[in-house]
Amino acid sequence: MRSLLLALLATTPALARHTPETPVTDYSAYVLENNEWRLGPFRVEYGLLDSLQLSTFPFLWAFKISNGVIKYQPYDTGTHAISAELGFFQLDLADFIDESDQEAGTEYPVLRAIPFTVMGSRRQDDFTFNLGLAFTLVSFDGEVADSDLEAVGGASTIMLKPAIEWRLGPVLALVLEGRVKIYERYSGNVVTTYELDEDSRIDVYGTGGLELEGFKGNVSLSAMWSWDVFNLRLGMGRGHYAVPVVNVFIPAVIWYPEIDMYWRF
């Protein structure tokens, strides 16, 4: 893999850098061009068409989380762009249990997340202003082994994702990025069975839903270097950390790093 990347670095033309032709796609409405790649430990993307990009997160596959994202950009004038992004993530606990050890008839817990994001970007001089609205549905269902417990639950969130990119030169840009909760709701059902004695039992059903109020959000400032092929982003953020993929805010206010690296060609 390393030799492949080195070969790519040596042979591919200068595609990256902060130019109108190669805008950063992470926090914007922009997509990769047709047949363009973005390879990194955190995300792999491919431009299937000039307006259609496919993504996956390799490190999530390492944790047996199936995932994929499709991003479509129907509108791009050069200064203005709009895109829509739909993802699918699934963690099936059965994948962690050998087939020979799985109990027949047991529904092992499955966690699914479906994020949908609408993004808009406006490029003006040395700045790009981006605004995204992310809708995420998270669901959980399954039986918890050895506890006679079945659970179904979920979360629904709507999040505003503004980002400003300030290009200080062709290589370096500063990125001010934020996430603000607009809507956050949790719901769930739990069924647990108690064997009271040999003649009786009770199945207790718990259900509930709650829309959480109050501010949650975060802001980060990072430097984004974009060389010919290699890109590096380093920065720090503070606030309620938003768990990637499921877009759920951690309630505590913390400092967190903003790190990413990838090769684009």
Partner: protein, 265 residues
């Protein structure tokens, strides 16, 4: 179309994954008839009453045999509550903890918790387990313990006392638990509708009865004149009548009432 999307997602989020809490039958009307005693026991009404209530007295006697089964429900549920061993307690604390791990917020699910209680009936002497039948009741939990009405089915339920066999709908209203389950049940209203047999063939019946705390199990009997009494059996085995003046204890030829008043017939 896009402008409708957020609203659609919100609607989906709002209804995702939540089970519908069962709705109990309304026994308020029935309870009101027990509070509306209009008859006065005297030499005229006493023989009419015992004659009119003869068949119902049979049901009341059999209902006494059902009481052990019904009280068993409360014993079991009370123990479940008091032991606090449940991953989800009826107060919902357990699920709150589960969610706190995710959101850090305390969530009270008590308004949504309910249980399905299943008990094998005692059966007749010599019955195999699968011949004993069962009692299946739905219970709604509140922060104080239980909603006043529990309901469900008796399925081919056999009880040795009276050689009873019951197959139908059973509803029970608890009275006097407003101050918490530990304070004890002040009164109990029972309603049964379905197939019933008492040492004989099954017949279609509908009957109701009410426990007078520490005293008797009675049902309503209305004379042709419209006068309404409560008639039943005291826990000491005597026939009990309640009229507008209070409870009476009766033999085959006389009733003794409040202030040692006596009516002979």
């Amino acid at each position: 179309m896009n402008r409708f999307l957020p609203a659609g997602l919100l609607a989906l989020a709002a209804c995702s994954n939540e089970l519908e809490r069962p709705t109990p039958p309304n026994l308020d009307g029935l309870a009101a008839t027990y509070a509306d005693v209009t008859g006065t026991l005297d030499a005229r009404t006493a023989p009419l009453l015992l004659q009119a209530g003869a068949e119902k007295l049979g049901f009341v006697g059999d209902a006494q045999a059902m009481l052990d089964l019904i009280f068993g429900v409360f014993d079991d549920v009370g123990n479940l509550d008091n032991q606090g061993e449940a991953p989800i307690e009826v107060e919902g604390e357990g699920l709150s903890i589960t969610r706190s791990a995710l959101t850090g917020d305390e969530i009270d699910i008590s308004a949504g918790a309910w249980g399905i209680y299943v008990r094998r009936c005692p059966g007749w002497v010599g019955d195999a387990e699968n011949k004993r039948g069962s009692l299946r009741m739905t219970l709604l939990f509140t922060e104080e313990g239980l909603e006043p009405v529990i309901w469900g089915q008796m399925r081919q339920c056999r009880i040795e006392a009276g050689k009873l066999q019951l197959n139908g709908e059973l509803s029970v209203k608890l009275e006097g638990i407003e101050n918490g389950f530990d304070q004890g049940i002040q009164s109990l209203l029972i309603k049964f509708a379905g197939d019933y047999a008492s040492d004989g063939p099954l017949e279609r019946v509908a009957f109701d009865a009410r426990v007078l705390p520490g005293d008797a199990l009675v049902t309503t009997v209305e004379l042709e004149t419209g006068e309404r009494f409560l008639v039943g059996f005291g826990f000491d085995g005597s026939v009990r009548v309640v009229d507008t003046t209070g409870p009476w204890s009766c033999t085959e030829s006389a009733c003794t009432g409040p202030d040692a008043r006596e009516v002979r017939f």
